[in-house]
Symmetry: D3
Subunit: 126 residues, 6 copies
């Protein structure tokens, strides 16, 4: 066990409780170590880094996934929900997605807004 | 002349003095109105919007252009320089670009960092 | 209200009656002004431009959305339907989509043809 | 009838019995010759080429479709199934898809693994 | 020799005299048959098809390559030049490229216009 | 120091001697830990995995980078050179790149072949 894995696990459990176990259960038999790799690299060596607040990291991820297009819609929704917990307002999320019309095209932005509306509706239901 | 065009022109001249005239000179004979369209839509109806600070808008754009890949390297450099003026530190820019390894792949992130290093070197020369 | 917004609104209402109101109803609370921005920029400053007939503009859009891949399938279907109203034959639409096998790959072209077949089936049902 | 078409047809029928007829039935009225074009070019002039074993060709295709992202999920599943018949183990397929996290991003790799799990589940049901 | 190859060769020689020989000289030792494959599929089975005039096919290709982004800049320039010979005016080419701001983003459209300006400048030098 | 980092460092030094130090020198002041992250994740947790031979991993990477398009040309060349050392013949590399015409489009495949020809020419010069 290493520092980056520990740090990643702490953050991953804080942000998405149970995610590592879920990845292990779903993919571990096929790709052993995948879950630890996600925890160590994506959380421990990226999201947990100092130098940029978590709120800004989610903002950047929402921007990128919107511009890359709707094939990552499931991940976009997860990150919109994560961004909300990290302090992004609905307005800020709407703004950054709509701005992506300039870089990923209008259809990408509209598809991104649809993902956001779904997340916000789920929030309201809770 | 309209409100969004006026607002866009004010912001465009503040951020990139002379850009509208340069667009008009280069593209206006081929696509009349292009420069005004950029000013009105990209600046007046996007970057000048309330709801998200300029610094955050640049952060999002740098993230998206990095993830979309190096074909937009010229625009990425322009936006890194713009983000610096809007208050992003070099560290924050390095962080957000490297984070894109997760979404656009490692080559995109490395290419994005190269663009950032070029911009920072130009800053140091000035 | 401006010339480009007026021109865009006229064209938007002719091509997609009620679209601006639908955009406003769905996204306006989250991103105020989005609907007017679409009308002004996409319709008033792009599709309503002289210099290229509407039929050709739809042809180009169908080509681009096919090559960019299936994440924009909803928008591709809207533009295939729009292209039909602007004078494109089914054969011409089939041809341009299949040609995209050369630029976006075979899967993109096949996915594009599937979108076209859905639109044509809806036409036949009407 | 030509050598490449004959060779392509033989391979296509071996790998996907009935595929040419299915393409003809679905798309032939709209794009005459599409099915023969797929058989001649994709099978006769690509997959049937000497110089790279079929197993390796499927490996490459699975890698590319994963990295390009989930819009080609239907084709990715077809090629995962094809790769299995050409001798790729589940482990090898899991490995190559997960490796694409480096090039197409983590979401693409996860989406690709989901496609693989669906194919493997269908295998187990048979 | 087949009908599609013959038809493709006739069109390829008309549009790009010497292209097949150039492909063969450059790539034939590495990928035998590549040149014939391009002639047969891209020209004989795509561009030479009835159902869509050559001018429209170039329009579609210019749209798609612009939206896909600048990594295909060499091919975009070739197709802009080809489109000029097939009857597209500079204005039409400028229009269709600028329209791609809606689908491939503003940077893609600007990069596409730069490619067009280079082609037009080469025309003026001749 | 961890098992995955050690394993990654051993492989990275074997395949690309000095690469970690070069990454550290170039990017370490801006993004501390980037070099170790590449070594640990890309080498230790991906390329060094059992389950798929190195030769196959390079084949997959060459396929993906070709299909993703020329913006990753620098990385494509590095991986073609790496694939050569891992046992891929020039013919196999030519084959897999040309096959990508089916998935990333003809321009991507031609651009990929150009990258390969450059690498092969550099080999011949050595």
């Amino acid at each position: 066990m290493t520092e980056t894995t520990d740090r990643g696990r702490a953050l991953s459990e804080e942000l998405n409780p149970g995610m590592e176990a879920a990845l292990e259960a779903r993919y571990g038999h096929l790709v052993p170590g995948l879950a630890e790799g996600v925890v160590d690299f994506a959380y421990g060596r990226q999201y947990a880094r100092p130098g940029l607040p978590l709120r800004d990291r989610y903002l950047a991820t929402i921007a990128a996934l919107t511009a890359l297009g709707g094939q990552t819609a499931p991940q976009l929704k997860v990150n919109i929900a994560g961004g909300r917990k990290a302090g992004l307002s609905r307005e800020e999320i709407g703004e950054v997605i709509w701005q992506m019309a300039l870089y990923g095209g209008f259809p990408s932005a509209i598809n991104g807004l649809n993902a956001a509306l779904e997340v916000f509706a789920e929030e309201d239901e809770t």
